[in-house]
Amino acid sequence: MVDASTFNGQLRLTGMANLEGLTIPDGVPSMGAWGEGFVDRRHPHTYAHEIMLSGQQHFSEETVSGASFAMGKGFAPFGSDDPMVRPFLSYPVNHHLAQILERLVAVVAVRAGPVIAEAGVFNGDEPTGPDDWPELSRFGDSWSGRLTLLPLPGLEVQGSYAELNSPEHEGGEGLDQTKWSTSARLERATRAGRAYALLEWASTEEGGDVFAYHSVLAEAALHGRVLGLAYRFERTERPEEQRADEPFRTIRPQLDNSILGRSRWSIHTVALDAALADDWPGLSVAPFVEVSAGRVTSLTPASFDPVAFYGRDTFWSITAGVRIGLGMRLHRMGRYGVALPEMPAHDASPHHEMMH
């Protein structure tokens, strides 16, 4: 991970290498997850998850208003934060509805007081594997815009729109997508630690109005000096696509641009963690346990019956582990230059590493 700036912060390089392609090449089980050829497993990200260079200029020394330009491999200005920097280990089902990431992207942002406007162009193709790079020839075939309001300290409200050219077919012959997202994000320092909440709605229409998928998600976390408690609920629709010989993989590219049907996943997740090793500068150790319970229903019952396919339509999962951080904190991914709102003051709790 790199986060370096120069010229008094006017030029900034942010980046993150991601080795999931080595550690979880076959993804990791995740209830309802889908995308990039995986299903019911979250896909590994690309090795170069983010490499963005941004230049920004404030209109005066006393104001946060200014303009910036960022370019590199990273996030299109659309939707909410990367789940990687949110309180849960398990990704939400709506990852591919609510974020557009790992693209060759150029973003212009302008901030005037509490208003941030961003526009970006990028390549529509999503990665096909951890070592995949964006198709250079497709740079600029897709675009997005995001408008963010900062009405109160720590509170941001955004609405965004994107038009993607053939994200699921590298050659550009697949279905195009139109995406909408709106969310409200609150992050506040408390006497003991921090409070965080996100309320999100996202929608993707594919092939004009041929297929439509919607998602609502609400999550909140409260962190004290040691313990943290987080809860997430989401209700997300996803495509049901033909599976490959391996049941956790779908066919890429999907033949005939057709799908089996659509399903809706409703999932509750609760996470509890404890921040240890607080006395060691730069080191964080946070054991956690995360429990999810969910139900899947078919929106096209003739073609996809979850009970027939899975043997049941309710699921639960439990995940336990330890997050270990050493060195710099995770930065907030998905915003660059003046589009990155200043963070509220907070303490040095390792919990921040899970959310920034």
């Binding site: 050829g37 077919h169 050659g171 012959e173 697949g174 279905l175 594919e206 092939g207 041929v210 297929f211 033909q242 599976r243 490959a244 010989d245 391996e246 049941p247 993989r249 066919i251 890429r252 590219p253 033949l255 005939d256 641009n257 057709s258 799908i259 089996l260 049907g261 659509r262 096209t300 003739a302 073609s303 019956d305 027939a308 396919f309």
Partner: protein, 492 residues
């Protein structure tokens, strides 16, 4: 007193020993044999039942059954002899690879005992790949139609490509196809991309015309709900410069768009039968000159499975005028068009474990493919006994390690069948002997293996006395291509 003692002693010595209690069943012999399809293994399968002292137990009934491979056992139960041995004969099915049968005795240790046998290919000759014709990766290539030495490749957004593969007009051969023309057909109101999927070159016996090529457009769809894509009619009088002259667009069904899939033609009566997914089966009058909108040419249409249970993949006309249809959701149907009206004669709702794909009928047998997993993987070729006209499930041939059987076709003489398979290490081309039409026996195979690819379709063609399969290679992991296989030696 002495007598009494003597009687007592005699009585003790003549009492039968206590019956041994069977405790275990094991394989005695017969495991790991080989045979051809529909042929019994050289040696019977034998299981041995013993007691706690490892002594044989007679009189125990052993149940025999086939676990995998589609073969049969006879008898299905047998009783152990004085050596504790029970036996059965295992006749192999047509499945590729290993086949298994088991011996079971309830409550005994080791039950069930599984015996494995291996199918021997009935042809010692390989399938020969004679040409791989690259297709631009504009999504892929879906189907081929071969007739009179011309191959029509239906290549999605690349359109239709016409190759001389033995016709003589451009000197092409199956090993060196020569392109003579191409056309990108129009989109439709529901689907803007050409999405060229399949076709049929109409030879009109009444006029001897070979003017029209019907092209199917496959737009995006959702199984059981919606589909998109029109029939496009192309004038191929000048093969070098084909021209689209007419189209047929189906109106929405229950508020959902409907699109076309595979064709069959009754050329004698100039009727085009089109599988129309959620719209069922549509019969079109294609006699005379075709121009513009053909919506007035509908003879009749039918949704054999009814609303919500119809998504027809393919249709085929049999020699007796019966029309058979394969429906992804509701299976294998027997239909008929009489006096301009469709009727259901039988079949249907007979494949529940997978989605049904393509079909073929020949003589008294029918065949259909399967794809995707409903409760079982879609790797079966279903065999249907059509001796009564209506389909009766006869057998199922599983191709291991594939996710889809997407296409199948029987040779004109009924001797053999080509099957294409996708998605898995077993993906590729398979050819079967139909010496016994209800028990296809694997002759040979050619792997085009890929977790996300393989061969999507295969079309049989006889060119200059040799037998070929023209196959469409999926766009993953390699580029799409038309692969041409010479199967002459394998199917002889």
């Amino acid at each position: 007193m002495l007598l009494a003692v003597a009687l007592a002693a005699c009585s003790d010595s003549t009492e039968p020993p206590p019956s041994p209690t069977p405790t275990a069943v094991t394989a005695f012999d017969g495991d790991n044999q080989q045979a051809q399809a529909a042929v019994a293994l050289p040696q019977p399968l034998r299981a041995r039942v013993t007691d706690a002292e490892a002594q044989p137990v007679s009189g125990v009934t052993v149940s025999w059954s086939v676990v995998s491979g589609g073969g049969s056992v006879s008898p299905t139960s047998s009783v152990t002899d004085a050596n504790g041995i029970a036996a059965t004969t295992f006749t192999l099915g047509g499945h590729a690879g290993a086949q298994t049968a088991q011996a079971a005795v309830t409550g005994l240790t080791g039950s069930p005992v599984v015996f494995t046998a291996t199918l021997i290919l009935t042809s010692s000759h390989d399938i020969a790949l004679v040409a791989t014709v690259p297709i631009p990766p504009n999504y892929g290539m879906h189907d081929t139609y071969v007739r009179d030495g011309l191959a029509f490749a239906f290549a999605w957004n690349t359109g239709v490509r016409i190759y001389d593969v033995g016709n003589g007009i451009a000197g092409g051969t199956p090993a060196a196809p020569a392109r003579v023309g191409s056309l990108v057909t129009n989109g439709s109101v529901d689907a803007t991309d050409p999405s060229v999927h399949n076709g049929w070159w109409f030879h009109n016996p009444a006029t001897n015309e070979t003017r029209y090529l019907f092209v199917g457009q496959e737009g995006p769809g959702s199984i059981g709900t919606s589909s998109r894509g029109d029939i496009h009619v192309v004038d191929v009088s000048d093969l070098a410069h084909p021209v689209e002259v007419a189209f047929f667009h189906h109106a929405p069904v229950d508020g959902q768009p409907a699109g076309v899939h595979n064709f069959w033609m009754d050329e004698e009566h100039a009727i085009l039968y089109a599988a129309y997914y959620n719209a069922g089966v549509v019969a079109l009058d294609v006699s005379g000159t075709l121009s513009g909108d053909l919506s007035s040419r509908v003879i009749d249409e039918i949704r054999p499975g009814g609303a919500g249970n119809t998504y027809v993949w393919g249709v085929m006309l049999a020699g007796d005028g019966s029309l058979y249809a394969s429906d992804m959701l509701s299976g294998f149907w027997h239909l008929k068009l009489q006096s301009g009206a469709f009727s259901v004669l039988g079949g249907g709702n007979n494949v529940a474990q997978q989605f049904t794909s393509d079909l073929w009928v020949h003589g008294g047998a029918g065949y259909s493919g399967t794809w995707e997993t409903r409760t079982l993987p879609g790797n079966d070729v279903k065999v249907w006994n059509l001796s009564s006209g209506n389909p009766v499930a006869s057998a199922a041939i599983a191709i291991p390690d594939v996710g889809t059987i997407s296409d199948l076709q029987v040779s004109d003489d009924g001797r053999w069948m080509a099957v294409t398979a996708e998605y898995g290490t077993g993906a590729g081309l398979y050819v079967y002997s139909l010496a016994n039409p209800l028990v296809p026996a694997l002759l040979a195979s050619f792997p085009v293996a890929s977790p996300s690819g393989g061969l999507h379709t295969g079309t049989i063609a006889s060119i200059n006395g040799r037998d070929y399969v023209f196959a469409a290679r999926d766009p993953s992991p390699e580029s799409p291509a038309m692969m041409i296989f010479d199967v002459t030696e394998a199917v002889r």
